[in-house]
Amino acid sequence: MFDLFSDIFTYRDNALTRIDPRVKLLIALAALIAVVTAERIVLPLAVFTFCLGAVAILRIPAKLVACRLAAPLSIVAVLVVIQTFVTGKTPLFAFTFAGWQFTAKAEGFRQGTLLGAHVLGAVSVVFLLSIVTPAHRIFQALRWFRISRNWLEIAILMYRYIFVLMDRVADLAAAQKLRLGYTARGRALRSFTTLAGATIIHSLEQAQRTHDAMRLRGYRGTMPFGPLPAVSGRDLRILSLCLIAIAAARLLEWGMSG
């Protein structure tokens, strides 16, 4: 769970972490649009491969990659299976299981793999962004793009306190475990519900204390944001090149589909 949220790699110094967060956000947005509107699996899979390649070059541990991609990969698998057996008419193969007849269809398989490729491509873009940009830089960039202050404020506080609450939940869960709270199914369920309740109470108390601390430093309903420096010429060139490359890839893919 902790690996899932770890952001230590965003503080490393490399070519990608040095790029302005606004530039990275725009490139990521363009890549996401290209991926989710693709009509063939080639472009999303190419983006997925490119992002994984970048992750490998940045020497991000395989365990962390696997941990973060586990959920989307499961979603892809479920999507492909459901689409294959539910959608379409042309049979690919059939089998019987527990008295039920299952028929895989070609159209469903194509649709499923396309959707799965969309998910993989999009997730890999966000994953790459998340390991080369600290969250606070993304929030600053979003603020620069005039995203709602209130929305960002809540996001910042959520991001900050998720680590605090995770620590508390881990402590409480360990305390329950050490007193045999998870040794039987019923007991485990009781322990888990108690843990969930305690977490809610903790978060409410934390919210109250944090609000007090904010008030004591002049908080009046909106959190101030620091300025971002002007985007450098180098970063603007990177942005232009990436946008041209993404647009060209999308047009090429469109031409191939047409």
Partner: protein, 289 residues
């Protein structure tokens, strides 16, 4: 001039718990004052009242000669800063720099001044190298210092700290107390400290208030406070360990120690007075040389 003056303050929580009853408390500018009390004695409630988070049922609270209610929040929090016991309650921004800049930016200061204050505050707490770090990557001791810097960036004249050494290792505890001493003696900041840790107070505090069950049991310099053994026990506190040792040696072994030393330095001097010079090796070696 009085930095803070509290007269006849009563406070009762909604559930009927009377947390403070008839508390009188005052701190002069530039003083280092400790509020000493066991858990539930009313220290945190008193602090809540001093910074306006709580309102007294009766009584008067003056900050810098003006009633607390007359001050706008901007005025109040530029005069009085509170450092919470748990730094996680206070550090809500993603990075050290952003957290320290939170207060100055809320004052609508120009960005150059915001940055100047952040640098100054981080420098004052020896946390300048932490400037770009994420809060959740800091150690507990670093978080404590950064939370102090966040309050310092508001440039308050009175600094209130709730259990500033709680959870710190001995080195961190000493570092924090030395830091507060420096802010008080060199920067002239008025420091009010709520604690139940007695060992370091005689070294730093000009005066101590002992609180128990919402009442002030005693007030005065540490030498006066710690010679009232019964009162200390009644407040569920104890003597500093070194004083306890001296007290036991006097009481049980009849060692004629002069007064009751409160610090290791004082205890050393008193003991050296009692030990024959010919038994002190350092002196013998000095003579030989």
């Amino acid at each position: 001039m009085k930095a803070i003056e509290v007269t006849g303050v009563h406070f009762t929580y909604d559930d009927g718990t009377e947390a403070l009853s008839g508390v009188d408390f005052h701190v002069s500018e530039g003083e280092f004052v400790a509020i000493l009390g066991s858990n539930g004695s009313g220290k945190t409630t008193l602090i809540g009242l001093l910074v306006g988070l709580l309102k007294p049922k009766t009584g008067r609270i003056m900050i810098g000669g003006r009633a607390i209610g007359e001050l706008s929040t901007e005025e109040l929090y530029q005069r009085v800063g509170l450092v919470f016991q748990n730094p996680n309650d206070q550090l809500f921004a993603a990075t050290v720099e952003e957290d320290c800049a939170f207060g100055p930016r809320n004052l609508n200061l120009p960005e150059a001044e915001v940055q100047e204050r952040v640098t100054e505050a981080l420098d004052a707490v020896a946390a300048l190298p932490l400037r770009g770090r994420a809060i959740h990557h800091l150690s507990f001791g670093e978080q404590k210092r950064v939370s102090l810097a966040g309050v310092m960036a508001m440039r308050p004249s009175v600094l209130i700290l709730d259990e500033p050494t709680a959870g710190l290792d001995p080195a961190g505890e000493a570092q924090m107390m030395q830091l507060l001493k420096k802010l008080n003696r060199e920067e002239g900041l008025t420091v009010i400290l709520a604690t139940h840790s007695v060992d370091m107070l005689p070294l730093f505090a000009n005066r101590i208030y002992v609180l128990d069950h919402g009442r002030v049991l005693q007030e005065g310099p540490s030498e006066e406070i710690f010679c009232h053994q019964e009162m200390i026990v009644r407040a569920k506190l104890r003597l500093p360990y070194v004083s306890r040792l001296m007290y036991e040696m006097k009481r049980h072994d009849g060692v004629p120690i002069d007064g009751l030393p409160l610090t290791i330095g004082e205890a050393r001097v008193r003991l050296l007075e009692l030990i024959p010079k010919e038994l002190i090796i350092a002196e013998l070696e000095e003579k030989k040389a």
